[in-house]
Symmetry: D2
């Protein structure tokens, strides 16, 4: 009954098998391996973006912070949701990598910015006023930290707002596959066709050991990315171990299959929660994360039964759970959790 995070899961057999195969023999380091050449091709096909620059790093924080650093100058504002991962959970990595850009927060219910809210926040900074930081970029998280999802149309509306102000758009897709499954969108529809310029393409929360891609649709920024990555200690010498995982992840749509499983288990859990007395969802359930809150005593009971998850304050003094389903969550896990939650 492990619902703490999708990053507490292991890796599926296909990934392990790929790793074992990749371990055989010698390979040139630093991304000059044959696996990476294939990953580049795969990713360009996945995104229908034959010119895209594709890089791998080991953590989502690195992917996001490097993306910000190539999109936003030190004196720029990174517009993002009040509870975006980049502002709340990365210990200031975007500020470090950009050399001091300011994250300017856009409020919005259920973890989502609206075009109106984004526009109003952008307008609060006057371009050309040397005393103020300048408008820099927009970062959208999909799946959001509240577990909700933007549709491609919603991403497009936010990106259109950004572009009206000539700002580049980053998509933090730590759970990109889950967002695609939730919406039925293609990778292209969710990104460049909607106006996204750079994507953090998550793998770790969806079955990899620690591999994220950064996909940059305008390759003009590629070399700068490579230098910043190296300089940040994020160019692995034995790069093949990252490439081989990503290759297997993309192969035959495994990545989407894994996310579909996670989303399905979350849906099953949501369905079951509707029967748990007085369980109230803080946010709609779109993908693989749920935030229900419960009457007193529920958490103690669930934890006594062995459920593992994070707790946080909820309205009316109650406490919410954050349940995250992953590719490895089973029907039995879901059923056991529901049983433990039910008085």
């Amino acid at each position: 009954m492990h619902f703490a995070s999708d990053n507490t899961s292991g890796s599926p057999p296909q990934i392990m098998a790929a790793l074992l195969r990749a371990n055989d023999g010698y390979a040139m380091g630093y991304g000059n391996d044959a696996y990476m050449a294939r990953v580049r091709d795969q990713m360009r096909e996945v995104f229908d973006a034959p010119e895209a620059a594709v890089y791998l790093v080991a953590t989502g924080t690195a992917a996001n912070a490097l993306a910000c650093a190539i999109a936003c100058p030190p004196w720029g504002a990174v517009f993002c949701h009040t509870h975006a991962h980049i502002t709340e959970d990365e210990c200031g990595a975007p500020e470090f990598f950009t050399n001091g850009a300011k994250l300017v927060l856009v409020p919005g219910t259920h973890g989502r910015m609206t075009p109106q809210g984004l526009d109003a926040t952008i307008n609060r900074l006057s371009p050309g006023n040397v005393h103020s930081i300048q408008r820099g970029m927009v970062s959208i998280t999909n799946v959001t930290e509240a577990g909700t999802v933007y549709t491609p149309a919603e991403v497009a509306a936010l990106a259109a707002t950004a572009h009206q102000h000539s700002l580049p758009v980053h998509l933090d897709g730590a759970r990109f596959a889950n967002a695609l499954i939730a919406t039925g969108a293609t990778p292209a529809e969710m990104t460049w066709k909607a106006g996204v310029d750079i994507v953090s393409f998550g793998g770790t929360k969806n079955g990899l050991m620690g591999v994220e891609a950064v996909v940059i649709f305008d390759p003009a920024k590629a070399w700068e990315f490579e230098l910043r990555r190296k300089r940040a200690g994020h160019l692995p010498s034995k790069h093949r171990y990252l490439s081989a995982q990503m290759e297997a992840y993309l192969e035959g749509g495994l990545w989407l299959e894994l996310a579909a499983r996670a989303n399905a288990k979350a849906a099953l859990l949501a369905q079951g929660l509707a029967q748990v007395p007085d369980a109230i969802l803080s946010h709609p359930v779109h993908a693989n994360i749920l935030f229900p809150h419960f009457p007193p005593g529920t958490h103690a009971r669930a934890e006594a039964a062995g459920a593992v998850y994070y707790r946080m304050p909820a309205p009316d003094g109650r406490e919410a759970a954050r349940f995250v389903a992953s590719w490895s969550t089973t029907d039995d896990d879901v059923q056991a959790l529901l049983t433990a939650l039910t008085p």
Copy 2:
């Protein structure tokens, strides 16, 4: 015949087995896994340093740059050899992580600083002169970039010089195991007993997939290290995959056994080179790296035979090879290379 680098090798079966075991089931992220608890104990025992703080990161550049950042202020000088890895091969990572410290270079033959040379360089900066950067720290590489090794006594002499000026000492031990094998020293003798304060303890070049430890003997800097690591995107969520590798690496002295193999093959190669007509070593061979240079035609012949290695300018217009032996180099590899080199 792959002698390009020890980071082009794969991982030995013990590491792969550990990884497979670690993949089973769920584990809390970010270093809160059971493997890491064991690694901490193992490492403290290896170093005979029960108070040491122990952390893992995925690259040597991250280990070194983070070590510099906790040891040296932004206005400090990092004294290191003219050809140290941190100054020539990390794209300015120490400068980035320290927010602009200056690497002040200490010349010395065969990749090694002398206490006299270090002292003279340190003395060139006057403490208390606000116009100048201040003395910050000393970083020693062992095995050096020239393939030579400092004995514990030599490290102690450099550290004593540093401490006379109240400077902390970092040891870049990307090939730490190879240096121990070369000298017969214990980890404690090579580090804190010799006056070293922080160690980058390499694993990647010696059989891991991408795992380095940072060992900090004074735990007062531990929390700062953790924050800097996270902020740099170097705290992996699925940390168990790093811990499990390091656990197996340390288990039963595997790490020393692997380095012993690499050094032995390098010695064999050095022995054979003595028979290759007009092959001249640029530097003494102490560990697992050799820099021989050859008459014209030799490189073409070796490469035609399938030898893979880096080439660089050598005296008298000749070209040197850099041959690096690893844990997976075989006697046959060495023999084949020698055959290819011999006219």
Copy 3:
């Protein structure tokens, strides 16, 4: 009728005379001039703080950003009011000087934080959570950007909140003298007796050409300040020109006299505005700044009459003025402005 800012005024004759005297002959540079030795003594006496470290810089932005840099680590939060000068008007200088600290905003009416609001904001960050930036420092602006003033008791209550969380307290006193005049407090009462650790002591807005002091009550941070100042290009070689101005400013209480004049003219203007039909003050007038808003047509009329000031949106679609009185504002200026504003 120049009410745009107190930094559009010139310098009073005492300052010019001091400058002319200081110009005579040779003086050692970089703060080693005899004027600075006297300024140090004067400032310590003014603050009743015989141990305080005292430094001069040429701009308020430099004073504030350097103060933040010695009080807050790169991964720290600087808690300040939503509309603090450091977050809205310094183009990210605190982020630059601290290497990426995050300004975490505390809302509050009329430009003022409350202890409750500050405490709630501080509590939102959990110390010891490596994924989050850490609590760093509190910065209080007095006179605030809304023209209001904190009493010493109010500063003390904020500082007590900060200290409960072990956070140092900075006071941005760009208009420090005006705040003292407004409250009748002594410098000590407004600062260290209330729990303030570092003060940006303004001179420029109150009659100097471009001189601000930084007063650090704990001299342990003094050398770091000196190095950061030099490294930021803020150690003037011909430092005597700054020292001589500051000496004359402090001499005989000139600084308080100048601020008293400015505050008195602002009070006169506030009094007159009460007679201007439908003029409404956005904030109470405590010191030398007023934010009245007016019916349509008023601004056009005032500007046609030669009034110079900044305009900004106000409630109900009206536009507010920011009128700032300075040491050089005259009764005639005030009267002329009131006449221009009256239909």
Copy 4:
């Protein structure tokens, strides 16, 4: 007998008069004053560069570090002489402002780089090697720290080398006027006609209170400069005091006249030193700085007579003096110094 530095002198009457005039009345802040508009025109005329962007800052360190920051990325090398002011005397300001660029040192006698030496140093870094910092920019100091001067042809040769590698060229002209007087070159000949892209145009060492200009021949970098300047706390609110000084400095060629005086006194001193027994010049005297070394006893005698200057080690265990003449040095000063030096 004050020869410690040209920054220990005061300002000539023309500057003081301009300051007094500028003090009268109100002026908009932050460079929006009428004086600055005239300075911009004057400077463009002085440099015969009608498109140049012109900015003022209060220190040479700020001018240089901001110039580096707009010319060199964080991962770039700033090629400069081993003893350049930017590497030895600015406490790492270029590293701070550029976010960690590396100053790569070019040796050369008498403080001067040669095109061959520069080229060899540049060639040591391979562009396109992601492990290495990249080639960034070239910074030339004229007058050099050794008191020597580059002719326009010499600057052009260095700049040609830089441009062959597509690197921008900065000229640190803290003593720009002295270099022009020494060579008879026009400002244009010494800068853009020779291939210089950005100039730190010194005023402080030549009679201003603390004013330096930065002249950027390609105005495309102007807005970035303005933002970096503000963010570094180097945009003065009462900017008119800087503008007014610079206006008077440029007016009628005063700046060249002041430098001519300084150079003439240095020449007189050099002439006299030829008669001082066993006085040996470490470097040729081209402008207003001399580095003679003397037999034992000389320094004690000179200082006892009231001479003020810096001392530093010289060959053969002797000690050198650094004598700097300024606009305010008199024939009597020179004669008194020579008398004191003569046994």
